[in-house]
């Protein structure tokens, strides 16, 4: 476990100088925007998580990290596992930060100092501040989507090679779209019975509960992806 | 102690060091009872292999130039050391023999060689 934490710290310190400025900029810009206009804007910060993930592989390739992995007193599987936990942690912390900013925005109600409080735009702002459910849906949705995408890409990239990663993503998206299209087509023409998705709980506490479930599920999937990748890589030479 | 190693010399490094150390012990540049650097220090200073310096010290102690004191290191053997004295006599005879041979080869008579030697000794 100490190894995994050390490698996560190592990855963080590698990405930090490349990502920190962008992250702070994002927090400031999206934070101010959400304070005044809509707390939901905060959730777009999830994009910025990738600043801490994307540079890692490039640096590793350019700087010959496979040699470093060969000499560090760390089990190789733990190096791989740590990367997936790191991706989870980056997204999770961003999610927490977003939650804090959302709460602050709602609490401070800074939008009240804006001019023209009765204007049409102001009505939309007020509405978005009043709404919590959609904001929470976006918060958990963005987290789940990006964290899964990045850990999936990490797995594919590590197993099949970075150069094939884009291809794999395209194929995955293509297959999913095709399936969705066929499914929709068939059900719209009554060729198969329409499957009714369970509707999301319609209360704030219900949203929070499903959000926590989503976090746990994503965490487990990250662990799983990490384990699969670690086992695949362990068969190879550094 | 001053040792110069010539990489391009035909003599192996250990022999170069042995010759130079012997010469300096004999002419008193390295005083008797003086402590010598350890085998590993010498190897480090000269940037040569430890096996080479080990060989040097072994040879020099076998020939009586230096003595090894367990736990303390290597020292220049005292002058009255029998072994060293013998060794010095041997070196002298060797030198004389060479001088005589060279003199005879140059066509000098034995008397002339003795005269030359006496002159040399008077300085």
């Amino acid at each position: 476990m100490r190894d995994i934490l050390n490698i996560m710290r190592f990855d963080y310190l590698t990405a930090k100088p490349l990502a920190l400025a962008g992250m702070i900029f994002t927090i400031v810009v999206f934070g101010i925007l959400s304070m005044f206009f809509s707390p939901i804007i905060t959730t777009y910060m999830t994009f910025a998580s990738m600043l801490f993930v994307i540079p890692l592989q490039g640096v590793a390739d350019k700087s010959g990290f496979n040699k470093l992995y060969g000499i560090l007193p760390v089990e190789r599987k733990n190096i791989t596992r740590a990367r997936f936990l790191y991706i989870f942690l980056v997204h999770f912390l961003t999610e927490l930060l977003e939650a804090v900013i959302i709460c602050t925005a709602k609490g401070t109600t800074l939008y009240k100092i804006l001019p023209n409080q009765n204007g049409e735009t102001m009505q939309m702002v007020k509405e978005s501040f009043a709404d919590t459910k959609l904001t929470l849906l976006m918060l958990f949705g963005m987290f789940t989507f990006f964290c899964l995408i990045f850990s999936f890409m990490e797995m594919m990239g590590q197993i099949f090679g970075r150069e094939n990663e884009f291809k794999i993503i395209m194929i995955a998206i293509g297959t999913l779209s095709l399936l969705a299209f066929v499914f929709t087509f068939l059900s719209e023409h009554d060729l198969i019975p329409v499957v009714k998705l369970p509707s999301l709980p319609d209360t704030v506490s219900g949203m929070v509960t499903s959000g926590i479930v989503a976090n746990i599920v994503v965490f487990v999937i990250c662990l799983l992806f990490g384990e699969i990748t670690a086992n695949q890589l362990a068969k190879r030479e550094l | 102690m001053k040792i110069v190693i010539k990489n391009k010399s035909e003599l192996p490094i250990y022999e170069q060091i042995e010759q130079q150390m012997k010469a300096q012990i004999l002419d008193g540049t390295i005083m008797e009872d003086e402590q010598l650097p350890s085998i590993r220090q010498l190897a480090r200073d000269l940037k040569i292999s430890v096996i080479t310096t080990t060989r040097v010290y072994n040879d020099l102690s076998d020939e009586g130039f230096i003595i090894s004191v367990v736990g303390k290191g290597y020292f220049v053997a005292p002058r009255n050391n029998e072994l060293l004295r013998e060794r010095m006599l041997y070196e002298m005879e060797e030198g004389l023999e060479k001088a005589v041979t060279n003199g005879r080869n140059a066509g000098l008579t034995d008397d002339e060689i003795v005269t030359a030697l006496r002159k040399f000794m008077e300085g």
């Binding site: 640096v59 007193p73 | 190897a43 430890v50």
Partner: protein, 294 residues
């Protein structure tokens, strides 16, 4: 004498290259030069020691520990210098130190920064902008800062200027003053190890051609020259890397085989470099003689 590194019967096959039954050992307290032409298998052997390459058969033990099962424990006490830097190029030395520190139980930051100072390395510049010599010294500083007992260098001097190469020898000479340590120094620039190495292992086409003390190697072989017709027939097959040209021949010979050679043949002691050249020629010679027999 305890061996700090011991390789027995190491075999490792790739599609186009194989290590065949590689065995050698390095006693604690000494420096071994690990030489051979490019592609002779030096790097593969080192990768096997580090458990980066998976061995097909054989056994490697470092500090008496097994290279596969105890690889973590070994790496705690092992320093490695590669021909290129293995650290994030956009970081400076302070950031690198932060990264590496927690991995080693015995990491000593004070020691690290005093080495950095001693080696004249700037601690606020990106390590990717360092010269080759500076990168090499950084890797050494890392090895020295976690009390590595064995330092393995894989072609550290290729592409280094003579000044930096000399500095490296200085550092290694200082390092080995402690008799509990060991150094395995892989290189094809034999001048680097000619003086400082206690032991030499020569690898040729994936096999060990020689392993033992350097003195026995350099005293054991001579370069012989002369007219081809003066070679006694019994001697001819003992010549290694025989090469005839218009005015005579040259070849490598074991000094044991020198007894009774005619005065018309001259010989002088062989350098490690010359030995390597004749080993390589010996391969070509086999092809030539077959050609002649036709």
């Amino acid at each position: 004498m305890e061996n700090i590194l011991e390789i027995t019967g190491l075999c490792k096959a790739y599609e186009d290259f194989a290590l065949k039954d590689v065995s050698f050992s390095l006693p604690r307290g000494f420096i071994m030069g690990f030489v051979g032409e490019n592609g002779s298998g030096k790097t593969t052997t080192i990768r096997a020691i580090l458990n980066m390459a998976k061995i097909d058969s054989g056994k490697i033990s470092v500090f008496g520990l097994d290279s596969v099962n105890d690889t973590i424990a070994i790496k705690e006490r092992l320093g490695v210098v590669f021909d290129s830097l293995y650290l994030a190029e956009h970081l400076n030395i302070k950031q690198i130190e932060q990264q590496l520190k927690p991995f080693y139980k015995d990491w000593n930051s004070e020691e690290f920064f005093s080495r950095i100072k001693e080696f004249d390395l700037p601690d606020n510049r990106k390590v990717g902008d360092f010269s080759k010599g500076m990168k090499m010294k950084l890797m050494i500083a890392i090895a020295l800062s976690h009390k590595a007992e064995l330092i393995i260098l894989d072609e550290p001097t290729s592409g280094l200027d003579p000044v930096a190469r000399d500095e490296l020898l200085d550092i290694l000479a200082e390092y080995i003053e402690d008799e509990n340590r060991g150094v395995l120094f892989s290189t094809h620039i034999t001048a680097d190890v000619e003086r400082i190495a206690d032991y030499v292992t020569i690898l040729h086409s994936g096999k060990v051609w020689y392993t033992g003390t350097k003195d026995e190697l350099t005293e054991g072989y001579a370069v012989i020259k002369g007219a081809e017709e003066d070679i006694p027939s019994a001697l001819k097959e003992k010549l290694i890397g025989f090469h005839a040209y218009r005015n005579g021949f040259d070849a490598l010979i074991k000094t044991d085989d020198l007894a009774g050679i005619p005065d018309s043949l001259e010989y002088e002691k062989a350098s490690i470099d010359e030995i390597l050249v004749y080993i390589a020629k010996e391969d070509k010679h086999e092809r030539h003689s077959k050609y002649h027999e036709v």
